[in-house]
Structure formats: C-alpha cells, structure tokens
C-alpha cells in the first residue's frame, strides 16, 4: 500500500521538475524516471529507422547516455519534442555512418516530412476547436475529393484509419497519405487566406 502510494506521488512530478532536479544535483534517478516515461516512444522511433530490435535497444540506452551529457548544457522548453529530435537525429546518424544503409539515410532526409525541426506547430485541424473555424471549413471544401473525404471522416465523423480505408476501398497507408497531403494543402490554403486578410 505504501509502495503504491509512493509510486503515485513520484508519477505526478512533471518533466520540468525532474529535469531541474537532474540538472542541479546530477541525480540519475530523476533522469531515469523522466526517461522511462518516454522509453516506449524512443524505442518505437528507433525501430522505425533502424529496423532491428537489438540495435534499437542499444540505441535507447545510448540516447540515455546522450541525455546525461546534453541536458545540463541546454535550455529545454518542451522535453518531449526535444527528445523526439534527439532520437531521430541519433537514428539518422546511425544510418549515415553505416555504408550499407547510407541510401536509406538519404531516402529519409529527402522526404520533407522528416526534416528535423527543433519545434513543430500544431496543425489548425489538430486543435480541439477546429469545428468552429470557418476559414478551415472553407479550405476543406477546396481539397481534392479523396483528401476531403478522408479529412471529413477522420476529423468530423471520428472514424479510424481502417474504417475509412474500408469505405473508400483503399489501404490504410493510402488513407494516411491522403490525410497528410490534405493537411499540407490546408495549411497552404490557410496561409494564403491570412496573407489576403493582411493586405486588406
């Protein structure tokens, strides 16, 4: 019972608390507690890029070592997105350093979706209040049919990838890419609208 309670308390400490504790005292346990909350994400990303369980597990441990040296040197505002960038960079560097997988590295870095930015903005449609956004609704109307249909079903009818894939008779990968492209077009459309408003 006491144990459970102690666990409860420590779980409610925020990322910032733990980072501060580690930065000021070098307490590895604080950093470990912080990291263990993200380990499944770090491991998942490593698996995606390295495609090897053993190597990915080693990568997760190496990234932890990296955190020990990097965190005290940096001002981290959002640990989750910072860790994401650190993880991804680590994996891409691993691929680049390996001759046989250099091609894979180029493939990942040419794809604009994998450009490594230190921060990323939330897409307007991913915000909670997207339903009330008129400009957004207008832009959705202008999308190509498949993209419009996917966005509508996913964001307005709360249907999952697999349901949408079924209803359109395509596979889930296609649904994801329609969503991605649709969102990119939406962003462009919204930016255009903003420009126009400024000119008025």
């Amino acid at each position: 019972m006491t144990l459970w309670f102690a666990g409860k308390i420590s779980k409610s400490r925020t990322d910032d608390d733990l980072i501060n504790e580690f930065s000021s005292s070098g307490n590895l346990e604080a950093l470990g507690e912080l990291y263990s909350g993200y380990m499944h994400l770090v491991y998942g990303v490593c698996l995606k890029y390295l495609r090897n369980r053993e190597e990915s597990q080693d990568a997760v441990m190496h990234i932890f070592e990296k955190l020990i040296t990097e965190i005290p040197k940096q001002k981290i505002e959002n640990f989750s997105s910072w860790l994401y960038v650190v993880t991804k960079n680590y994996c891409l560097m691993q691929l680049r350093s390996d001759k046989s997988r250099e091609l894979k590295y180029r493939e990942w870095t040419i794809d604009p979706g994998s450009v490594m930015e230190m921060s990323y903005d939330l897409h307007p449609i991913d915000r909670e209040d997207h339903n009330t956004d008129e400009a957004l609704a207008d832009c959705i109307e202008r999308l190509k049919d498949e993209q419009k249909e996917c966005i509508r079903q996913f964001y307005y009818e709360s249907r999952s990838y697999s349901e949408i894939a079924n209803s359109l008779g395509v596979d889930e990968k296609k649904v994801k890419s329609y969503l991605q492209n649709g969102k990119r077009n939406l962003k462009l459309c919204l930016e255009e609208k903003n420009e126009k408003e400024k000119q008025h």
Binding site: S36, L41, R53, Q57, M61, L122, H123, Y155, S162
Partner: protein, 381 residues
C-alpha cells in the same frame, strides 16, 4: 507543463497495437498520433514487431535502465567478492581431487595451472585477483554492453595474466560447477519458438552470455539450463537462419523465447540440427552441436546455389523435406534417412544435397568429439 502519463500512454499503445480499441477510441488515438510526430513514428516502429515482442523488449529496457541508474558501486563490491569466492572454490576442488598429495603442494599446483607462469602462493594469487577484478570492473563500466558477466569469466580475467591460461581457468570453473551439483544452482527453463510460425525450434543453442556453458533444445524446443550465477544472467540463443537473440534469464517462470528469422539468411533453407540425446546432455556444461565444416552461412549458400527444384513443384508452393543422419565423431556422415517428404523427387534431391554437400564437424562435449544425430529441414519453394 503537462503531467507525465507514460503508464496510461503505454497501455494505450499496447491496446492500439493489439487492435483492442473500439473504432472511436482508435480514432481518438490516431488523432493523437496526427498531433505529435513523436507518437506517430513510435507507433509506426512498434507495429513492425509483435506486441508481445514490444512488451518484452520494453521490459528488458526498463531493467537495463535501472541497472544503469542504480550505481556501479554495489557491482564492484559484488564482483570482487564473487571473484575471490570462485578462486577459493577452484582451489578447493583441486584439494578434493588430489587429496593424497600435501595440501600446500596442491595450492601451488592449482595456482600455477590457473595462472600459468605465476608460480607463487595462493595468497599472492588472491591479491592479484582483486586488483585484476577491479580493473575488470573499470572496463565493464565503460563498455556497458558487457553488463552481465558470469562467474567463470570473472575468474578468467582475474587470473589470466596471459591468454594461454584462459582455457585452464575455464576448465577449473567447469569442474567447480560440476562439483557444486545442479541442486544448488538456479535453473532457467522454457521453450524456444520461431516468431514466424510460433512453432518450437529443436536443436537451438543456448549459452550463458560470456561463458561456454550451454544447452540445446530438445525435439519439443524445450530447454533447461543451470545458471552459474544469481545476478541477472543473459541467455544467448542461436540457431541457423535466425537472428542471434539475447534475453535476461527469468527463473521465476517457464520462459518463452521467440527467435526472428534472420534478414540476411537465405530464406530457401532452414537447417535444424538437434541432439537426439539432448536430455542427457542438458546438464553438461560445454556442448557444441555438430555443424557443417564450412559454417552455417556457407552451408545455407551451398543449398541455395545447388538446390534443383523438381518440376512438379507448383510456383508459389513450399514443401519441406526432413532428413536425419548421424555425424560420427570422426566427422563422417552416415545413415542418412528421409524422415518426412512430400514425394520421391524431393527426397532424392534432398539426399543428393547432403551426400554431395560440405563435410561436417562433429559435435563436442566438454571438448571431446561425440556422435550426434542431426536433423535437417530442406525447404523447396
């Protein structure tokens, strides 16, 4: 800033990967993925492996992390103590084995054998052992991949002034293990299966990482292996055509180790060799199954390059011939017989491949060649 909710997070992930969510929940989770590329990419990666694998991997990682955090200090003390203890046991085994000689004389012999040219008293060796163990610890702390070292290895690095003496020291440790009898040692047991079809893998080799102690799975893919140490021990499983796999031994339950088919291996051929007397050999410390002289990979390539697919095999079909034969301790291959085959043409081709194939290296038990029954699966597809 947001609260840390990794536990919920992980169970959400698990349920998503398992497909246990309702469609509405799935949509909510997918929206979260859309919001955060960290989640998105992690989900992509984790869905590449089975959820059981994902969970056991995360478990391993959690333990590795804890081990990393909970100080190396305790480990140092433990290691020194363990090293000293082993050395003393090693010497005492020698006393027992050579009871008729004067004990003092024997101490010298044991020390000399273990430490090669160091012809000095046992006390000196102990002292040397301690400093060597400390040195060993520093190295281990630096290269953390060598996290678990079983006791023999500690002994080896401790007393081995020169590499030549390693073998002696190992033999001594083996003798010690035998003398201690399995009853006092914890034992890991379980089954090894292939992740491809969840079927047991007979003849897979399991060793305690960093040692030569090992066991081979029986026809049902089952193994039992005495552990030489109580600290977390890493089991290394190896099998032709499969990725080498490492997992922490868990003596509290029946283990289930899943091996992934090797990416590099040629998919055409799977070689299975197992020891018909596996049950008897399990408790022995050093056992190496028979294998092709050219090595496993070269053997795979040999089959790949030379297999002639009978014309009666429809394209896209896959059939398996199982052959059994004996590899004598001389290396001779005898008594080749067909155990299972879909037809004469396939049997003939499989037999030809073995008859004309590379020579075999006999199985070894404690360094001595022995006869062994080998089974091979040859896949036509």
């Amino acid at each position: 800033m947001k609260k840390r909710n990794s536990i919920n997070d992980l169970s959400e992930f698990t349920r998503y990967i398992r497909g246990e969510m309702s469609k509405r929940e799935e949509n909510a989770f997918q929206r979260k993925l859309q919001k955060d590329p960290f989640y998105e990419e992690a989900a992509e990666g984790l869905t590449q492996i089975s959820h059981d694998e994902a969970l056991s991997d995360l478990d391993v990682l959690e333990r590795r992390l804890n081990k990393r955090i909970s100080g190396n200090r305790r480990m140092v003390i433990y290691r020194i103590a363990a090293s000293v203890a082993v050395l003393m046991i090693v010497s005492s085994v020698y006393f027992i084995l050579n009871r008729d000689k004067p004990a003092r004389e024997m101490a010298k012999t044991a020390a000399a054998e273990a430490a090669g040219k160091m012809d000095e008293s046992a006390e000196t060796i102990l002292a040397a052992g301690e400093t060597a163990a400390e040195r060993d610890e520093v190295i281990t702390a630096e290269t953390r991949s060598e996290e678990v070292t079983a006791r023999q290895e500690t002994t080896v690095s401790m007393v081995a002034a020169e590499p030549v003496t390693v073998f002696d020291a190992e033999k001594l440790a083996g003798a010690q293990a035998a003398a201690m009898k399995k009853s006092v040692l914890p034992e890991a047991r379980g089954v090894i299966i292939s992740s491809e079809d969840n079927l047991p893998i007979p003849g897979a080799m399991i060793t305690l990482k960093g040692t030569t102690s090992g066991a081979v799975t029986d026809t049902g893919g089952r193994f039992r292996i005495p552990l030489t140490d109580t600290v977390p021990v890493v089991l290394v499983t190896e099998f032709i055509g499969m990725e080498k796999h490492e997992v922490e031994a868990d003596i509290s339950k029946d283990m289930k180790i899943s091996m992934i088919p090797s990416q590099n291996a040629l998919s055409e051929v799977v070689l299975v060799s197992y020891d018909a007397k596996a049950k008897e050999s399990i408790d022995k410390t050093a056992y190496v199954p028979a294998q092709p002289l050219t090595g496993k990979n070269a053997f795979d390539s040999y089959i790949e390059d030379n297999i002639r697919k009978p014309t009666s095999l429809p394209s896209g079909q896959r059939v398996v011939v199982v052959l059994g034969f004996t590899v004598r301790k001389t290396g001779a291959v005898e008594n080749i017989k067909v155990i299972r085959s879909p037809g004469q043409e396939f049997s003939d081709e499989a037999l030809r491949l073995i008859r004309e194939g590379p020579a075999w290296k006999p199985a070894e038990e404690n360094g001595q060649p022995v006869d062994e029954e080998v089974r091979i699966r040859i896949v036509f597809k």
